[in-house]
Symmetry: C2
Subunit: 389 residues, 2 copies
Amino acid sequence: MTGRTNRVAVVGAGQTAYGALPHPPRALLRQALFEALGSVDHGLSAEDVGEGYLATLGFGGWQIGNPASLLAEELGRPGLPVSHVENACASGSTGLRQAHHALRSGACDVALVAGVEKMTDQPSARRRFWLGVSGETEWERLAGLTFAGVYALLAERYLHERHLSPDVLGAVAVKNHAHGAMNPLAHLRKPVTLDQHRAAPRVADPLGLYDCCPVSDGAAVVVLAREEVARRYTDTPVWIEGSGGGSDYLALQDRTSLTTLPASRKAAEEAFRHAPFSREKVQLAELHDCFTIAELLALEDTGLVSPGEAPKATLEGRTRIGGSLPVNPSGGLKSKGHPLGATGVGQVVEVFHQLRKEAGPRQVQGAERALAHNVGGSGATALVHLFGV
Amino acid sequence: MTGRTNRVAVVGAGQTAYGALPHPPRALLRQALFEALGSVDHGLSAEDVGEGYLATLGFGGWQIGNPASLLAEELGRPGLPVSHVENACASGSTGLRQAHHALRSGACDVALVAGVEKMTDQPSARRRFWLGVSGETEWERLAGLTFAGVYALLAERYLHERHLSPDVLGAVAVKNHAHGAMNPLAHLRKPVTLDQHRAAPRVADPLGLYDCCPVSDGAAVVVLAREEVARRYTDTPVWIEGSGGGSDYLALQDRTSLTTLPASRKAAEEAFRHAPFSREKVQLAELHDCFTIAELLALEDTGLVSPGEAPKATLEGRTRIGGSLPVNPSGGLKSKGHPLGATGVGQVVEVFHQLRKEAGPRQVQGAERALAHNVGGSGATALVHLFGV
């Protein structure tokens, strides 16, 4: 039960580019598997894998449910025990948590977590499906509230309570686009200025176009191994040093505040409870910024900055690469993209490369401890994982 | 890693009636939770629960995805780490396996596994959805093959290879209906004769009406606890003595045989590998009989009878209550009903009551060791769990 025993390592990680891609979901999954298996320094045989988790909301277009066995098929290992995991936009990190549990239970030595989503080129009935899987249906979606509208309510209240202008949201967008412009796998690889943010078309006021993540296709895969066997696969494992989960009422109307996500707070508390380092020691974070406001909420809810400090930390540039706490060096959901089931797994791919000093031009210098934070819906579920080398 | 250490107990179990019910899915979940919590002999506080798993394919009608937090809400414990698990008709047992991993990992002391499905009173678009979650979509559903048609192909080949008449399927139906007639929570509580089976309308030849499970609503919940704390909750825990998972190609066309489900074989092998008893010691089994043919396949694939023995064992009455190996004393999916996500959890509810000698008129005398087997789709995934007292 302590953080230092019975640990689990990330020994491989890979992903596709995120974007509006021509590939069907199986091809995305196959490519991410190829990249992840290829990243295992000393090689990995499909036979070594003991359990697999496939995170996806709808797999995309054709196979609506029961997709888990496709992970075994594409791995070339039919027979593998596999599970399909779905916690809306937090599906990927939920799969990570379940694999972490499985490995720590001793059920197997190596597990795979895959996330995939095919969101573009869908028929309109299927596009409506996405709306039914993120927010709450009875009191939100059927009343006409879009998912951007849900986060707009959070943003409006946040700016009002703190007497802030939307430029603080713009600072998040400008930063994450600057980061994403350095990520060859990002969906939106272009810088954005504060003026562009101000002038952007409204999506759901106060959120404009540059406050919203794009609609992306993509897949990501990580290979996890128990401490006992990790060095068979790599000399530079990245350790999972904490896992936390939390939940909340599905509908906003049932919650007591619009300016904090208790699910994130609970997840962070659990993750840090047994971790070998405290919040102050985290050197980079991948936070769930489906909308710019979400990054500000996450900074405080995870405890990475003190209550009330998120806007100041952002405006002062502390959360930029080069700042004291770089947030979303990958570009985040905002710029890297948000292929729902893949997102939480893709965050770990970024952390893996950052902590191994393989992140190229967006490398966070000296980073040895990282946090990944992933939210389902508007905070119905959230997960926090901690990593170290 | 041995079967006797670090065990997990079932300390509570409850379910709704299965059937065409007027209740919305939340109400079904709430009732099953109420029954399960009420069954914990020394009481259980919601605060004791450390992790929750919600098994469902579509939750039913309104909330298409992201339903996991509803389990926390209905438990009265918002904040609980929760996951939505989906492996088609094997969702419930997949949740059980994940909870088993979580408890054995030491992540928490008590976990809940809930399964729920609302299948009746759905709009036609939603009914079509069920077809997209069970079989394979590209090569089966879009080519016009129904799910009953998939199992009809298995049945046709089975009868042909073994030179059997459909009366062997009838023997399964007659038995399971006789069992279900004694189960006050079963969907179809009426005996069926072999003549009725023979004369029944065809669904997908050779499968007639009495070869097919009904379309059911329902929910089931089990409470699991680590060995260290189990006796706080009950003096008569039911131990999970093995958990196994397997998978296979999603589409029938990719498989090498139509008369065995390798996913079931792999699941059984893993479950028995570390178990404290062998196949010969199992005294009752809940097997996945979505169609009558599936029970015959499962009897041999789990190794409960020797290869080729399933028809003989069935025709001789060995699998009846009172026989040497009672199968589906609950009535099985065939008669008890099959509310997809609830099914695998409901099997454990039956095992819990049987091994505690609480099963009333359908009690299997002296039963101390049981097996539960749950299949996703036509065998893309399968799970086997072993239980003992």
